[in-house]
Structures are given as C-alpha cells and as structure tokens.
Symmetry: D3
Subunit: 271 residues, 6 copies
C-alpha cells in the first residue's frame, strides 16, 4: 500500500545511493525493483537524444517517491533498440540480443541477492520486443516470482492527451518535450521546436498491421523527414510537470495493484 504518511517531497529509494551493507539491511523490506530502460536516439530538432532515458528514469523516481521505500529504482539502461533511427546523427543502437543480455545480467544479479519482484519501465517503444523476450526468458530460467514490464510512454501520452493538442502526441512531440523541459530543461531546444515532417510512407499499411497485432518494419527516415512525428511547439515546463505528476501517480497505482495481487498469490501458495 502507498505509505500515505510519507512526505511526497522525500526522494525515491535508488539502489545506486546505497552501500552494500545498506542494501543488505533494506533488502527484506523492498517489495519491488523498478528497472528503467531508455534510449539514446534522435527525437528530431526538439529534444535531446537522451529523452527516453530521462522519461523512464523520471517516471520510476516519481512513482517510487510516492509509494515509499518498499519500491527501489535500479540504474537506468541509457540506450536501447534504436536501429531504425541510425540514419539520424547521434543515435546509439543496441542489438536486441545486447539489451536482452543486459537485462538478464541486471535482474539475474539482483535476484541472486534476494530481490524477488521486478518491473521494467520502458521509455522507448522500440525496446518492447526485446524487453518482453528478456523478462519471459528470465521468468523461465530463474523462476523469479514476479517480473513484468510497462511502457512508460503510454502513461505519459495518457496524461498529455488531457493537456496538449492532439498533434502534440508523438515521437519528439509536445508530450516528450514538455517532460524534458520539466526534468532536464537544458535538454529541450525550444528555439528549434518544429512541427513534424511526416513522409506519408505506408501509413495505412502500418496502421492496419498494428491494429491486428503486427508490425511493419520501417526505418524512421522512411517515416519522417525531421525525425519527429509529434508537434513540439505547444510544450511547456508546466505541462511537463503535470504530465510527470499524473503519470507517476498512475504508475504508483499500477504498482499497488501488482503488489497487492502478488502478495495475495503468495499467501495462497503458502497455505
């Protein structure tokens, strides 16, 4: 349950802040580890290449601060599966097998110490398939009681839709730009904010296939000339703060549900 006596300004519990004996002592009371996974990839002229890492990490911190120290945050994975953005300067792309190996090692190590529940908070859509593969393999190989993922951007877009014009939602759009303005202002580039420049390439096919649970493999330069699909021009820091606050609250609620059901399942097994 969310610790309502806890000041919301108190910071989240970060594994990186702890010494080894501190970790050992806190471990029995940590019910969930959040693992933020970001990207280092182009977001058009509007925001820095670190956007998805910023958003995944900020979301984890916001939710963990709300829930209290029963939830800890692991160091963020600062790159992801971004092969489709490689024709835009600055993008760093992990092979899917590399990201899977990283998650196996990170979760596997923490599982060794006694952590038992993990939620990967993913800041970049291109990571989803690799993360799903990783957590299913970890579940199968280790038998970890709980491992799951959530797409952080879905939480952000949900909030942004209530605050920004529809055209703002999208890659490098006002939703992401607002959040960056709120969290790491120097990584937003308001003087370069521009609307997206979609190419119109195979739009209907992509939408149809997606609607039926599939995917059309496309490089992002086939999709948009300037690298963005959302319009950043409506972004403000204040909108970013509200997005982060709302998305953090929603993630905290999800975590509560997950932990409540996991505790119930454990009690059932124990009986």
């Amino acid at each position: 349950m969310i610790d309502t006596t806890r000041s919301q300004t108190e910071g989240p519990l970060l594994l990186a802040d702890l010494s080894s004996p501190e970790t050992r002592d806190l471990l029995p009371r940590i019910e969930l580890v959040l693992v933020p996974v970001g990207a280092h990839e182009q977001h058009g002229p509007n925001i820095a290449v670190s956007t998805d890492t910023i958003s995944a990490d900020a979301l984890c911190r916001a939710a963990a601060a709300r829930v209290g120290p029963s939830v800890a945050v692991a160091p963020a994975v600062p790159w992801g599966v971004s092969w489709h953005h490689l024709r835009f300067a600055g993008t760093i792309a992990l092979r899917p097998s590399t990201l899977i190996a990283v998650l196996e090692d990170v979760v596997g190590s923490l599982y060794t110490h006694g952590f038992r529940r993990f939620l990967v908070v993913n800041g970049h859509g291109g990571n989803s398939a690799a993360i799903t593969t990783a957590i299913e393999q970890i579940k199968h190989d280790t038998g970890v009681p709980l491992i799951a993922s959530v797409f952080g951007y879905a939480l952000i877009a949900e909030q942004a839709k209530m605050l920004l014009p529809a055209g703002a939602i999208g890659h490098g759009g006002g939703d992401e730009a607002a959040l960056v303005m709120a969290v790491e202002p120097h990584r937003a580039k308001p003087s370069a904010f521009a609307p997206p420049q979609p190419t119109g390439f195979q739009i209907e096919s992509a939408a149809l296939l997606r609607a039926y649970g599939g995917v059309l493999a496309r490089r992002y330069d086939e999709v948009t000339h300037n690298g963005a699909t959302g319009d950043a021009t409506s972004a403000t820091p204040e909108a970013g703060r509200q997005i982060l606050d709302g998305a953090g609250r929603r993630l905290a609620e999800i975590i509560e549900v997950v932990l409540r059901e996991a505790n119930a399942a454990e009690r059932t097994r124990a009986e």
Copy 2:
C-alpha cells in the same frame, strides 16, 4: 489488386509445390511471400497441440487463394515460443533465439533468390516479440524493401466475436476450436470440450500492464487449471468455416493495402 477473374476454389500458390525452375520462372510475378508461424502447444482438452500452426497456415492459404498467384505461401514454422505452456504435456517450445534464427534463415534464403516482400502471419501470441525482433533485424541487416507481421489470431477473434458468445473467445476457446473443426476435424475433440478453468491469478495486474503496453510474465498453469481461457463448447464446423472465410477476406484486404502502398513507394523512389 485481387484477381477477381480467379476462381476462389483454385488453390493458393505454395512454394513447397514448386520445382526450382518453376520457382525461378514465377519469381518475377510473386509480389509477396506469406510466412506462417505456428506453435505446438497445449490448448486445453479441446483441440490438438497443432492448433496455432493450423490456423496460421489456413489463414495464409485462404488469403493467398483470394489474392491469386502474386502471393505465395512458404512452409509453416510448426512450433513457436511456448515456454509458458511447458508444464502441460505435449508442448514443444522454441527458445526465442531459435525462432529468430529460423526466420532469418528462411527469409534470408528467399531474399537471395530475389523475393522482396514478406509478411509473417503469426498464429500464436507468444511468438510476437521474437517475430518483431526477427523482422526488424532482417530489415536492418538486409535492407529488404518490405517485411512485416500480422497476428492471425486477431483476425480470427474479430470474426469469431460476431458468431460466438463472448466467453468463447480465448486460448483453446470456441474461436480456435471452430476453426480446427473446419480445417482439420480430427484435431478437434468435441467430446472433451469444456469451459475454461481460470485461476484468477494476478488478473488485474496483467490487464493493467497490458493496457499500458507492457506484459506480466506468467506460466499458463498459473493462469488456468485446464490450459484454456476460452469456452470451446459453442464451437461448430460451420462457425469455423465462416471465421476462416471472413478472416481470410480481411487478410486479403490488408495484403492489398500493403502492396498498393509498397508499389506507390517504389514508384516514388524510382522517380
């Protein structure tokens, strides 16, 4: 465009039917290769372990028969990523890396011969992450002009919802059972048809995470006692024929859109 002069009873073009010189001669007129990917996994007491292979393959054949010989069907991959069903007897599970390697080899070989467009038709949800990874890697590594996937079960469920009670939709449910009754009757087990036996395990968590683009890794024995989540008792061969007919038509329509846009994109590049 769908070849309307073509008799619908005429069979689909199967790569496995062709000799090498026949393939070489037909190759310039084949605009798309469908690659069915199935599974060999438990579907409760209701239907055989080959259900997802049957449905992926039947769907490809139905759509290819409609569109005509500009679309060819590759041999079906008869197993998939089914680790979560391994505690039910009979399930065969490929590691995700194995399925990715198979798709790389199959598509890579066909690409060598000059085939240029591929649509993976996936019969099993557990395959989605591996298929997405595979087609994106193939796109990145080979530069193939068009590679995409569609989740065949989404096409089937869409039809089934119009024909069967809501409870029939689900793993091993009436939707899948009806289709098997229509296509491979001896692989449906009407005398054993039974409603599902859900465990209620972490249902809300799983739904919430899915709604936000994530996944909760669960073994299927954690989810349902008898291996099914849909109720097969309402399945009939006639419903199966209608489902297959409707889903095949829808897939043919999707293929038409994909090819139309791909041709347009190619003309643009050529200009």
Copy 3:
C-alpha cells in the same frame, strides 16, 4: 514388437493430432518418438523443393503405422542445411547452428514431458553432420537414454535399386521422383522429367575422400548443371508405392531392433 493385430491401414500416431491431456495419457505407452527432418531445396526440374520433407515424413508415417501406437511421429522440420543449393531458385537453407538449436528445443521439450527415446529420420544428406552434432549434444547435456538418427534416403535408395535402373538413383532422380509421385503427386513434374547434367567437377576427388570418411565441400551448381544427379525419367507412382512400402518396413524392423536392445539394456540397469 510390431503389433501384428493392427490393421496396416490404420494411421500412424502423430503428436500433432493429440490434445495435451491425450498426450499425457498416451505418454507412458509411447516407446519412441520419430522426428522427421527434411529440406526445402532444389531437386532439378523433376520434383518440388519439398521432396526431402515429404520423404522423411512419409517414411516415419509408414513405419509408425506398421509398428503401432508405441511409436509417435513429431511434426517434420520442413527445411535443412542446404547452403550448397542456394544458387538454384527456391532453396531455403538453415545454418547448421539453427538446425541444431531446433532439434535441441524439440527434443528437449519432449524430454521434459517424459518421452525418453528419440529417432531422427533424416531426409537430406546435407543435414547429417548437424543432426549428429545435435543428438550427441542432447545426449551429453540431458542424459536422454536413447537418441539416434537414420538417413531415410539410404532406406529409399536400397529399395529403389531393386526397382529402377542404376542411373535413376541420385539427387532429384527416379527414386525420389517415384516416392513423390506416390505421396504428393502434384509435387512431381513428369512433363519436365530429365536426365541429370553432371559437370564432372572433381568427381574422383570427391569419391576418394568420401571412401576414406571425408568430404569435399562443393556447391551443387559445381556438380550438376540442372540440379539433379539422378535420372527421373523412369519414375512411376507404382514404383514409389513399392519403395515407400519396402523402406517403411525396413525402418519398422530397425525400430524393433533398437527398442528390443534398449529394453534389454534398461532391464540390465534395473537389476
């Protein structure tokens, strides 16, 4: 022992036909699983690229039907190690590591459920090294009591030599063509039947090295102009039926020997 009371027309036991509970119930009485491995590769103008899959699968079914339900047939692997045929259109080639991974996953899954004896029936010579590696690794890694392989084409050629002229024996030759005519008539192309067009390339070297347990790595286009090394023109469906009947009987006899010795060995261990 072969179940002589069993009608020969009764079909073989196919794993793909069974539901999971049916598999669980039959499992204790299944003494051996046959795993057919085929290929999707050019066979000259004479027969379809699926020839080796057809023959491996048909051989397994014929033998399993004879022996009775103590022998089950797994779904056929529909491609194999065919790199050397890739310059002929239509060929699909798995890397050896892919085929090894597939066999590890298929046999490994079935072993998990309690199956204990496996015979890989190989339809394509190019698969032999990968299959040998796979079954030895599986034996070493899992300790499975019995895993073995047999080259199905050796069984077929043995029969064909008694029925067809010597020149008919060979890749894409009358032996294979006859079998395809008997089992999947539309995949034989009698109107295109032609004698082979050998190149004469390094014939003596290849024969000498083979005689001394070695191999000369050659692409098939270095060996034959039209992709065949056997003459298909003498093939008939009737010869195909006799070949399959004889080869199936021989395989059933081999299976009987293997099971008899395995049972004896098990009794010895138990004492």
Copy 4:
C-alpha cells in the same frame, strides 16, 4: 590543444545533451569521444555501489571541460564485470560478453555517424580485460582510426597517494571515498567509514602473479571480510576535489598527447 581561453567552469560537452541536428552540426569538430565505463558493485560499508560509475563519469567530465568541445562524453555504462563481488549484497555483474557487446554497439553506432576516435575511461579494474577485448575487436572489425582505453582509477590513485596515507589507497578506500564525497556526497557514508578487513588469502601468490603479468582469480569475499581493501577513514571532500582536479588535468594532458600524435599520423597518411 587545450583551449586555454575557455573558462574552466564551463561544462563538458555531453552527447546526451544534444539533439540530433546539434550532433550533426558539432560532429566535424569533435575530435574524440570519451566513453566512461563504471560498475555497480559493493565498496564495503564506506561508499555506494555506484562509486566506479561516479568516478569514471566525473573524470571524463573534468577532462572534457578542460580540453573544450573538441572532446565529447558519451553516456556512462553504469555496470561492469563484477562477478567477484556478487556475494556482497547489491552488486550487479555483467558477463564479459555483455560488456563487450555494449561497447561494440555504442562505439559502432557512433562510428556510423562519423565519429572517428574513442577513448574508453574505465572506472573499475575488473572491466579491463573485457574492455581490451572490445576495443581490439572494434579496431579489427571496423578499422576505426583510433580506439584506446585508460584505467581511470590509476589516475585517481596517483593523485590520492600525494594527499592521503598509504593505507587509504585501495578498493572502497579513502581515495575513492574522497572522490565520492566531492561529487555525490550522499553516496558516501562517513558514519560507517571503517578500515579494511583483509583475509590474508593468497596474498603473496596474487602479488607475484600480478608482477609477472598474470592474475589469480579470486572472489572478493576471499580477499576481504568487509569488502574493502583501502581505509576510508581519512577521506574528506576537500581531498576528493583535489584528486578529481589533478586526475582530470592529467587525463586532459594524456588526451592532448593522443590527439597530437593521431593528427600527426593522419597527416603522414595523407601525404
């Protein structure tokens, strides 16, 4: 050459701060990319598990700030090869193959964009073998003109030896603790500062083998009871600032030498 007109308080150029078009525009003037590689591993009771990431990153920033915007800093790798610390709670260990894959992907992506010189700044001794392997493979596979590594801790210890007692130098010792106090004060734990608790295990062997270019594989719990080999009790933030300042200056000097020689070599090749 170090840009002496540049204010030292001006920040370093971080790739994560840039948008894609900014990266593209700055790229021609960026002569070197620093890639910090850290660890997430126990450092006794004295400092947080993120110590080596902090030190590698701080060192890169300090040197890059001095040299000016011809040197850019990539996002830090926040974990490393720490298998030997896994028996101390909190440690995250990458397999060597995972770290190698990460470096291949990070450097490979940047090389794609046109970056041509890379210096990996390693904060953790356990990473050295994997980093050496990675950079040699990258050199061999891509032909990148310049890729090198430096062990950041060697730069830090060199400074610390001039400021702290000899016993302070070592894993989790005063040298590292001082630097953490200066850079991320809340990750130092002065109230828990303690002298090391060496076990005396195979000390002479390890020293002898190291002196002759070898290594004795030991888990850290075989080496020290409390996880530290240096005495943290003498650490102060002021010493940390001086260490970082001195080590940053030294790294900037090394960078200058490397770039000077690389430029000379390039001129020679061009002639």
Copy 5:
C-alpha cells in the same frame, strides 16, 4: 605431381618452422595446406590420450614429405570432440562449436594470406560431424576454392587390416598402438596391452543405424569397460612403421588426385 627427385628422408614443410617472410616467399608455390585435427582422449590402458593427435600429425607429415614442398602442414589441433569419453580419466573434450570456431579461425587466417586449398586430416571419428560442418561453412562464407576432409584413421585401418589380426582393429587397438609405438614409443604402454572389454550394449542397433547413414549416440563407457574396442596385444613398432608408410603413401596419392582435378577445374574456369 609427387616430386620424385625429392629424397624421401627430407622432412615435410611445416608452417610452424617458417618465419613470416619465409611464408610470404613460399606461399605462391604451396598448393595445399594440411590441417591435422586430433583428440586428447582415453584409448584404454594401451596407449596415451594423445594418440589421435599423433596419428593425424604423423600422417600429414608422411604425406607432405612424399609430395614435397607444394604441400604444407599446419600445427595440429591437439584436442577434439570427445564428450563420449569424459567418464574415462584424462579425456579433454571440445564442444563441437569450439572445434568449428577453431577451424574457422585457422583456415580463415591462412586464407587471408593467400592460401587457397585446405585438407583437414582428422584423427578422431568423433570430430567428423564438426569438421564437416566447419568446412562447409567456410566454403559458404569465404568461397575458398578447395576445402575438404579425410578421416586419417580410415587410411590407417586399411593398412592395419593387411598386417594385424582382425580383432586388432578398433579404438585403442593394435592398429593405433602400433602407430604410436613407431612414432612416439613412450606413449605406448605395452606392459598394459590388453584385449578390449566390450559391454555388448546396443551393438546391433548401432550397426544397423550406421549401415543406414545414421548414428546411435552412446557414451564410450556404455560400449566398453576398459575404454578399448580393439585388441592391442599384437601391436609392434615394425607394424606401426609399415602402417604409417602405407597410409602416408595412400594419402599422398589422394592429394595428387585432388590437386590434379583442382588444377583442371581452375584451368576450365580461366578459359
């Protein structure tokens, strides 16, 4: 052609004897590189674990000495695929993937320098599948004009059958023991020479499957109690010298055929 003016006592050309400039100068006249692959595995009480390396290497040297300096010998691979002997002390077993990687690296490196024809001379039957896979992959990946293998033991057994009783032929038998006595006398153990102690385990199955191109995976401790299947008691150094002489002559003849045909094929291509 065999250089008949060359004294037979002159030694074979070994790559390991050459400096780099010597290699560069001789390279244009070296028509074939022999790559001996051995094993380090138990051969019963009769002979040392290095037997198969000794025989593969001796055979290469004998043939190369006969043919003259147009044939060079690479350093022997001193271990092989011997998992089935691991229950006998002293055996070292490479995984098949390791042996394949070694051969890829050795042949790949030599191919880089301009060597164009390779013959792997295999001393151990357990290596055959891995060697076949390796040479086919190398052929496919590099397009090397000629790569082949021969099973050296087949050459040895052919000679031994003319000199020793039938029971002497086999693993650790008189054929191998005689050769070791002739080449590395201290690695034969005449005082321990003993007849084999076969277990009789699945003999008929193994023979039948082998006759039909298959294999029964067996550990050697399932096959023979003392690790040998041949009787060493009849071995003499003189027989060993004759075996080596005859087998070396035969290998030289094979090499001549291979080179003659390869030269003819090259002339054809050049025309």
Copy 6:
C-alpha cells in the same frame, strides 16, 4: 615443495604421455596443471611463427621438471589472439571468443576428472585479456579452487635483461630468438637476424595509456615495418639456455608459493 631428490634431467610430467588409467592413478598426487598458451604469429624475419608456443611450452616443461610430478603440463594451445599481426604472412589469429571457449573446454574437462588447480602460462601478450576473461569465468562458473595465469614472456624478459643488450628485448628480439635457438634451433633464422624497424607511430600515446592501465589498439604493421620491435642480432643459443633455465627456476618458485598458500587456505577451510 620442490622435490630436491629429483634429478633435474628427468623430464616433466606431460598429460599427453599418459594413458587414461595412468592419469587416474596419478591424479590424486597432481597438485597443479600448467596450461601453456602460445601463438602462431609473425616475429619479423628472425624467428618462426611458432615462437610463442615454443616459449610457453618450454617454460612449462622446465618448471614442471624442476618441481617434479606434482605438477603436470597440458598440451599447448598452438595459436592465440593475433589479429594485429594478420597483415604479416603466416599469422593465424583466433578470435578472443574462440580462445576463451578452448580454455573453458580444456580446463572444464580436466576439472571433471578431479584436477583442482590450474595455471595458464601465456606466451603471447595479445592473449592476456582473453585468458583473464576465461579464467575468471571458469572460476565463477565452476568454483574451481585455484585458477591463475602468468605471462611467460615477463619471466623470459627478466632473465634476458641480465644477459643481452637493452635493445634486444622486444617482439621478435634477441630474448625470444635466443630461446628459440636453444629449444628448436631450426626455427631461428640467424642469417636473417635484423634490428627492428619501428615506425614511431603513436609511441608516446601508447606508453602513456599503458602506464595508466590502458591500451591503444594498434595493428603491428602500424608499429614496425619488419614485424619486430626487439633486435635479434645479439641472440645466441647459450643465452637462450640461460634464459630458459632462469625463467624456469623463477616459475618453479612462483608455483611453490602458489601451492603453499593454496594448501594453507585449504587447511583453514577444513578446520
């Protein structure tokens, strides 16, 4: 302890000399296995490509002969990580992953039999990173009580510095040439002995980075025109014998320290 009653002329205990039963009987008294790892790489005009294998193996034999039969020598790995020498004819280069796999298999097999302590004696600097990775992984994966490495060339150079001019020390220099003259005289090429031809390429950078625990990735043709960095002209067989004698003695002393401490550690654990 060194067995002082043992004649120094008695040979070292080589695993390759033993039959399987001999290995089984000696195993309980063998306290350490030495694993020599060499290279097959250019050493300028002065000495053969097998130099590093010769020196690693000779060093192991010399030390093992001194210590007596409590130390055994495994067969030498005859190639290593030599990618940087590939532009000089004759060099064979293993990928680092291949060398790691070989060491895992060799040590893993011996560990299976009951050997418990391993010292890798490395003849080639380019192998160091791969060997370190291998022995740490083996330690982590198997828990082997003792696994370590030593750089044999460091032992050789230490002796050579006392006997030869400073310029003689280096790759392909007088130190290595002398040793080869002493051990395998026909693999030294005195008539071609020449001083090195350094290019002067990035010398200061390389030295600085090395001084701070790093490495500059360079191909050897960037470093020296004739492949050598040491001057071979002062080499004599007598110097070689003294170098080998001194280095062998030093290695024996190191082994004694390692075994003494390992025995002490074991007694402590047993108490």
